[in-house]
C-alpha cells in the first residue's frame, strides 16, 4: 500500500477539542502564513503542479509516428472503454472485500485482548505486533517472495512435510490470496494500534456501569465498545479502500519473481505504470491516473458525507 495516513488517523481519533470557526477567525493573523509557507511551497511544487501537469498532458497524444498533438478527451475515452483498466479496478475491489474485513477482525481481536489487559507484557506484544508496519512494503514483498517460493521456500517445504505437495503460491488462483496475506501481515499491527487507542478512549464509567447492570464481557465488547469505536473502524475501512485501489508495491515485486503471475494490468496503478513505462504512452497513463484519482476522490467524499450525516464528524 502506498498511502500515508497516520496524520489523518490521529486527527480523527484524538480527543475532540471544541474548536469553533469563530475563534479561529478571531485569531487569524498574517504571521501565521509564514508558518504554513514551507508546507504550501512543497504542496504547490510537489502536489498541485504535477497534478496540473498530469491533467494537461492527458489532453495530448504523443505517437512514435506523427509526434504530439492535442487530442482532447480521447485518452479519457480510451481509459473508460479499456477493459484492461477496469479489470484491474474490479480485482482491487475483490481484494479489498476480502482483505479489509479479515484484517479488521484480527486487529479488533488483538486490540480487545490488549485493552482488557488479558496478557502480561501487553506493551511488549503491542510493539511486536506493530513491527511489520515498520518494514517497508518493498522489503515485506521481497521477504514473502522468498518465504513462499515454490521450490525452496520454507512454507512450501512445511506444506510438503504435511503431505501437501507442489503448492504454488504464485499460481493464477493463489497469487491474489498471497498478496492479501502479505498486506494483512504488514497492516494488522498498525490498525490494531489505532483500534486499541480508540478502545482506550471508551469512558471507564460506561463500561463499569454496564458491568454493574450485569452485562457480560462479551456484551461489553460487542454492544458497547465496538459501537463506540465505530468511527475508527469507518476510518480504517476508508483508508484501506483507498489503499486497495492504489495497490502497487506487493504485486509489482512479486511480478519481478514470477512475471507470468502478475499481468501488466493487475491493478489500476500497475496498468498506469506499464502504460507509461512499457508502452511510452505517458498521455494515456496520465488520463488513467486522473480517472483513478477521481474515483478515489469520489469514495472519500462519499464517505465524508455519510459520516457527516451520521453526526460522526464535528
Amino acid at each position: 500500500m502506498t498511502i500515508a495516513v497516520p496524520r489523518a488517523a490521529r486527527e480523527d481519533l484524538g480527543p475532540r477539542r471544541p474548536a469553533g470557526r469563530s475563534s479561529w477567525a478571531a485569531r487569524r493573523d498574517r504571521r501565521g502564513l509564514w508558518f504554513i509557507a514551507p508546507f504550501l511551497v512543497a504542496f504547490v511544487l510537489f502536489m498541485i503542479t504535477p497534478l496540473g501537469y498530469a491533467v494537461y498532458s492527458s489532453l495530448y497524444t504523443t505517437k512514435l509516428i506523427g509526434g504530439t498533438s492535442f487530442s482532447g478527451l480521447a485518452n479519457y475515452r480510451e481509459t473508460l472503454e479499456s477493459g484492461q483498466f477496469w479489470s484491474g479496478v474490479i480485482r482491487t475491489v475483490i481484494y479489498a472485500a476480502i482483505q479489509i474485513p479479515v484484517m479488521l477482525a484480527i486487529s479488533f481481536f488483538f486490540a480487545t485482548i490488549f485493552d482488557l489487559g488479558l496478557v502480561k507484557f501487553g506493551r511488549v506484544f503491542r510493539t511486536l505486533f506493530f513491527v511489520p508496519f515498520a518494514v517497508p512494503g518493498v522489503v515485506a514483498a521481497l521477504m514473502w517472495s522468498f518465504i513462499l517460493e515454490p521450490q525452496f521456500g520454507p512454507i512450501t517445504r512445511v506444506f510438503g512435510v504435511l503431505g501437501v505437495h507442489n503448492v504454488d503460491f504464485f499460481s493464477p488462483s493463489l497469487v491474489l490470496p498471497t498478496i492479501i496475506l502479505i498486506v494483512i501481515w504488514e497492516w494488522t499491527g498498525y490498525n490494531m494500534v489505532i483500534l486499541y487507542t480508540a478502545l482506550k478512549q471508551v469512558p471507564r464509567e460506561t463500561v463499569e456501569a454496564a458491568l454493574m447492570e450485569g452485562a457480560s464481557v462479551w456484551t461489553v465488547i460487542l454492544r458497547i465498545k465496538l459501537p463506540m469505536v465505530r468511527p475508527a473502524i469507518v476510518m480504517i475501512v476508508l483508508v484501506n479502500t483507498i489503499g486497495a485501489l492504489q495497490l502497487f508495491t506487493e504485486p509489482f515485486i512479486l511480478g519481478t519473481f514470477q512475471n507470468q503471475a502478475i499481468s501488466s494490468n493487475y491493478t489500476p496503478t500497475l496498468y498506469i505504470y506499464n502504460t507509461a513505462i512499457g508502452g511510452q504512452q505517458y498521455n494515456l497513463a496520465a488520463a488513467a491516473a486522473v480517472v483513478l484519482g477521481l474515483l478515489i476522490g469520489l469514495i472519500s467524499i462519499g464517505s465524508l458525507l455519510f459520516r457527516r450525516r451520521r453526526g460522526e464528524l464535528g
Binding site: 512514435l64 514470477q258 494490468n265 508502452g279
Partner: protein, 451 residues
C-alpha cells in the same frame, strides 16, 4: 547481456524495488531516492583537460575496460555509471533524451531495444566516425542489426548464439543421442517422458518472449518486419508461425515438455536435479546456470540447435548488447572512438571476455581464436562449449526488431501466462498477442501489416 534481475534474484529485485519505491508516490515510510546520482567510476587514470565521455552500462566488471581505455587514450576520459540493468536504464535514457539533457554519450542498449532509439532520432550515425571500417570484423547478422544501409546506429557488442545444452549423463541413461533435427527432438521428448514421467527432455518458457522469438527466427517464422519508417509487420498467425506454434503445442498438450519459466532458480533446479535433460540455451546460459548447479556439474555439453531441415545449419541468437552514441552528446567523436575501441579491439575483448564480464563476442577475430573456442568450464567437464557457440554465432541470421520492444515485452508475460498454466494454446496466445501489438502499433501511428 541479459537482464540480470533474472539471474541474481535478490540484487535484481532490489534494484527494481528501488525503482518501485521511487514511482509509488512515497509510502508511509520514507523511501530512499532511487539511485538518483549513481556513482561514477573508471576515471582514476584521467588527465585534466581530457574530453569527458559519459558511459552507462551494467555488464559486471566492464569498468576494467573503461580504465584500460582511459590509460591508453589520454585525450579522452570515459566515466562509467551503472544506472540499472535493462529496462531501468532504458527508462532513464528515454526520459533524459526526452528532457533534452542528462543522457550519457554512450550506453549499453540491447539489440532488440536499439530500433526504439533509432526511430526517435536519438542515436548518431557512427559511419561519420569511421565505423564502416570495422564492419568486416563482426559477424554479418550483428552488423545488420545495428545498421540500415550505410548508416551505422551502434557498435555491436556481445551476443547470445544459441545451442542445445544437454545433460550428457541423463541422455545416455535413456539411450538418447543429442537430436539433430526437431523431428528427432519431438520423438526424444516423448521417449524420455514415457521412460520417466517425472522428467522432460526440455522446458518450454512461453513467457520469455525473447527466447520464443529466437526459436521462431531459427524456424524462419520470425514475426516482425521493420526497417525504419512507419511500416511494420506483426505476424504471429501466418503459416510458418502457426506451424511453429503447432509443433510446441503438440509437445505441451502431450506433457512431453516442461511448461515453466527459464533463467531462474526454478528452471536451474529442474536442470540440476535431472527433471529437464536439455536447455535450448545461448552462449551466456551456462555461466548463469553454473552458480546454481551442484549435482550435475561436469555433465553438460553443448550441441548445435536441432534443425528443421535435416543437414541444414541454421542458428539463432538470444540476447546481446550494442553501444550507440546519443545525439545529445557534446563529444560525439570521442564517444564513437570509445565505442569502437570497446567492441572492435583485441585489447578490449581480452578484458571483457573474462569473468566477471564473460561477454560472448560478435567480434570475429575472437570467435576464431583457439584460446577462446577451447575454453573449458567445470560445468561442462573437458568439453569446449564455446566451439559450438562460436559456430552458432557465425550461422545465426539477422532479425528486424520493431521499435516498440519494451511494450512487447511488457505485455508478453501476460499474453503467454495461459500457455504456462495450460489454459491456453500457443496458437491462441500468438493470436491474442498479435492483436494487442497491432492495436498498440496503430495507436502509435504505424501502418501495420499482419502477413
Amino acid at each position: 547481456m541479459r537482464f540480470p534481475n533474472k539471474i541474481s534474484l535478490f540484487a535484481g529485485a532490489l534494484a527494481v524495488s528501488l525503482l518501485a519505491a521511487g514511482c509509488s508516490g512515497g509510502g508511509s515510510t520514507a523511501a530512499p531516492p532511487p539511485s538518483g546520482s549513481p556513482s561514477v567510476s573508471g576515471t582514476a587514470a584521467c588527465r585534466s583537460g581530457a574530453t569527458p565521455v559519459t558511459f552507462w552500462a551494467w555488464v559486471p566488471g566492464i569498468v576494467r575496460a573503461v580504465q584500460a581505455f582511459n590509460a591508453s587514450h589520454p585525450s579522452i576520459c570515459v566515466s562509467l555509471s551503472n544506472v540499472g540493468a535493462g529496462s531501468p536504464e532504458y527508462t532513464k535514457l528515454t526520459d533524459s533524451l526526452k528532457a533534452g539533457s542528462g543522457a550519457p554519450d554512450v550506453a549499453e542498449v540491447e539489440f532488440d531495444e536499439l530500433p526504439s532509439f533509432e526511430i526517435t532520432h536519438n542515436v548518431v550515425d557512427l559511419s561519420k566516425f569511421g565505423a564502416a571500417n570495422v564492419k568486416n570484423q563482426f559477424v554479418p547478422w550483428a552488423w545488420q542489426e545495428v545498421s540500415q544501409g550505410s548508416t551505422v546506429y551502434a557498435m555491436p557488442g556481445d551476443a547470445g548464439p544459441m545451442g542445445l545444452y544437454y545433460n550428457s549423463t541423463l541422455l545416455a541413461k535413456y539411450g538418447i543421442t543429442p537430436p539433430t533435427t526437431w523431428a528427432e527432438f519431438a520423438q526424444d521428448a516423448q521417449r524420455l517422458h514415457s521412460a520417466d514421467p517425472q522428467a522432460y527432455l526440455t522446458n518450454f518458457a512461453a513467457a520469455d518472449l525473447q527466447w520464443v522469438l529466437s526459436l521462431m527466427a531459427q524456424d524462419n517464422a520470425y514475426p516482425f518486419k521493420y526497417s525504419g519508417g512507419s511500416n511494420v509487420t506483426i505476424n504471429f498467425t501466418g503459416p510458418k508461425q502457426t506451424a511453429f506454434a503447432n509443433y510446441w503445442q503438440a509437445l505441451l498438450s502431450a506433457h512431453e515438455v516442461n511448461a515453466t519459466t527459464d533463467v531462474d532458480a526454478t528452471s536451474f533446479a529442474d536442470m540440476d536435479k535431472g527433471i529437464d535433460a536439455t536447455w535450448l540455451s545461448s552462449a551466456w546460459g551456462p555461466s548463469y546456470f553454473a552458480t546454481d548447479a551442484k549435482q550435475s556439474i561436469g555433465a553438460w555439453r553443448a550441441a548445435p540447435l536441432p534443425q528443421w531441415t535435416a543437414g541444414a545449419n541454421v542458428a539463432a541468437n538470444w540476447g546481446g548488447s550494442t553501444y550507440p552514441v546519443f545525439s545529445q552528446s557534446q563529444h560525439q567523436a570521442a564517444a564513437a572512438t570509445f565505442s569502437e575501441w570497446l567492441n572492435s579491439s583485441d585489447a578490449a575483448w581480452a578484458i571483457t571476455k573474462t569473468a566477471p564480464s564473460s561477454l560472448f563476442p560478435t567480434y570475429k577475430p575472437l570467435l576464431a581464436d583457439p584460446t577462446f573456442t577451447g575454453i573449458t568450464v567445470p560445468l561442462s567437464g573437458t568439453s569446449t562449449p564455446n566451439a559450438v557457440f562460436s559456430q552458432a554465432a557465425s550461422n545465426a541470421g539477422a532479425v528486424q526488431w520493431p521499435p516498440f520492444m519494451t511494450e512487447a515485452l511488457t505485455v508478453s508475460a501476460t499474453a503467454f501466462a495461459g500457455v504456462l498454466n495450460g489454459t491456453q494454446t500457443v496458437n491462441a496466445a500468438f493470436s491474442s498477442f498479435q492483436n494487442t501489438l497491432v492495436k498498440y502499433a496503430q495507436q502509435q501511428g504505424f501502418t501495420v501489416s499482419t502477413s
